[in-house]
Symmetry: C2
Subunit: 352 residues, 2 copies
């Protein structure tokens, strides 16, 4: 039956997400950067109100209620906002709008693996520009390049958790011949967002998700901010009703609850910094993370074996092996208790 | 900024969904084939249980819980099922898996307008085969044709509500050189599904949605059934977490509540048949509908004016004008009360 399939799809291997054990298992899950704390009760209450009203009707195709709240929060025009079914949907819409078959998408390396899969589905190529050793970007990241149609830059980056300073991002966007997508999935754990530039600098597009800093990975909601002229084109590409009534209401409530966000951020950052220190004390190389995970490497021990040992003990972290770069463990910031359990198991393994 | 956009996107007009008035308005909405009755309370209770557990974790990428229930219900292998964020997501995944730039998608005419937009986004063409006057399909619907990669056939069709008999569908699939997608969005109001053929006949793919017969348009959930080898390729194209935890749980509960479905179907069909009779009695041509809407045409009155009059009186129906075919009113089956209000307004207009 393979003759029915587009050759680009047949030849690609497909993005593989982190392992998802059954929701009722006891596994300590530090592998997909979920937030360990329960989302704002205001989100849950907003969902309960939707249930009273009912779900028979189609949702609002533009999620206007949400866009107005975000517009007020960041002082941006609601017409520059496009909502999606998780930021994966947003990244898919971006790729389909800007990158055609045989064209080129650029990304740093190593980074979120999905970008490459999105290019492959389009029949497009991807150009990987290696980070410098200190996780800064070389100047050729903004060189023109033939057929270059879109550039993805996650900030903070995964797996490193490192950030590119805002003035450097503007320099990159100024020099590029195409739009630059700043994937701010983890920005709420960092300091300096580019959301104020999106839609004003015509080539800067910022994407956000509710899966990490809002504890709503199970809900699927994300959005982007871009120039109105670009949003208007992307509207043709998105499914009409890509966001459901429940997620729109819950996301609107979540982003309105600032005190929950301040409190959550404080807890995650405190645990992250403790995790970083303890891992360094055990001999790991850990770049300063501005996200809700840390990237842990070392050359004297096979870290894959640590991943396997942790898994055997009921703790899932993410083992990543990037060809031409190296491997490491990406550990999500869980609760203090979860992180302590993980650290204790690693200590046992390392000191063995 | 248009130079950043793929030319295929720039030149297309984009699918326009039916009007969605604010959810708290008093408008009688008979324009997008929503179900006027509240979904099974078992769905709402399933959602409430998810809220207790929380939404911090990513959903199950394969929606295994749902697939097992559907597998048992229809006696099909769960591995032949793929779930999506509404059947629009399913139709998007299908198009992206099978149809590349410059290739061809075939559909009957007139039908669901979205199929054509999906081809355009892919940079693909669409070939429209006109229905016969009695809404049957001519033999050239299954002729081979160069570059033909995928055929869409909604059954029942929209706007007509008519069906193609199952033996004719098998004949079409036997003769086609590519997969045939039977879009069964409205099948629960008809008699004869092809779901038992999907995954067994290697070229027959069936899609379903929870927006119509399960009263869950606001939730976004749909699925397809196809040969395992095809599902495996489509998994590479779909977003990893395209269905959220809430919709998976609610859909699983909805499809398990058979008595709700039997009762709902009975009410919708009774109202549909009454709507058909009354419209015919007022001089409209109305094909026998097997869906939750009727298609109403006439040549002695400009039906667009009827649509406008209804809208001015707070009743929304769908006015459709198909080039080279003609125009008409597609009226969704609401409650008896809603349909009576609509019929009374039409009577006033027609007898004026």
């Amino acid at each position: 039956m393979s003759r029915y399939i587009r050759p680009e799809i047949l030849s690609m291997s497909g993005y593989v997400a982190g392992e998802q054990p059954a929701s009722d298992s006891d596994v300590i899950k530090l592998n997909t950067n979920e937030n360990p704390y329960r989302a704002s009760e205001k989100s849950y209450n907003a969902i309960r109100r939707v249930l009273e009203f009912g779900l028979s009707r189609y949702p609002d195709p533009r999620a206007a209620e949400f866009c107005e709240i975000v517009g007020r929060k960041y002082g941006i025009d609601p017409a520059t906002i496009l909502c999606g079914n998780g930021s994966d949907d947003i990244l898919t819409i971006l790729t389909r709008t800007f990158v055609g078959s045989g064209e080129l998408l650029r990304l740093p390396y190593p980074t979120y693996i999905l970008y490459r899969s999105l290019a492959e589905i389009q029949g497009a190529g991807s150009e990987l520009i290696h980070f410098n050793e200190d996780w800064s970007l070389p100047d050729n990241f903004y060189s023109a390049g033939e057929n270059l149609r879109l550039v993805f830059l996650p900030n903070p980056n995964s797996p490193s958790g490192t950030v590119i300073p805002k003035e450097r991002i503007v320099e990159i966007a100024d020099n590029l011949p195409c739009p630059l997508v700043i994937d701010e999935a983890y920005i709420d754990f960092a300091d300096d967002s580019c959301i104020d530039l999106a839609g004003r600098h015509k080539r800067i597009i910022v994407t956000r998700t509710f899966s990490k800093s809002h504890s709503l990975a199970g809900l699927r909601f994300g959005y982007l901010v871009a120039a109105v002229e670009l949003v208007e084109q992307m509207l043709k590409v998105k499914d009409s009703y890509n966001c459901d009534t429940i997620s729109i209401a819950a996301a609107a409530a979540a982003i309105s609850d600032e005190s929950w966000q301040v409190e959550n951020r404080k807890k995650i950052i405190a645990t992250r910094n403790r995790l970083t220190e303890k891992m360094r004390a055990m001999g790991f190389n850990v770049p300063d993370s501005k996200a809700n995970f840390t990237w842990n490497t070392r050359t004297d021990i096979n870290v894959r074996l640590i991943y396997e040992y942790l898994k055997s003990q009921g703790v899932l972290v993410r083992y990543m092996n990037y060809p031409d770069w190296g491997d490491g463990l990406r550990i999500s910031v869980g609760t203090d208790e979860q992180v302590d359990k993980c650290l204790e198991l690693i200590r046992q393994f390392v000191e063995k």
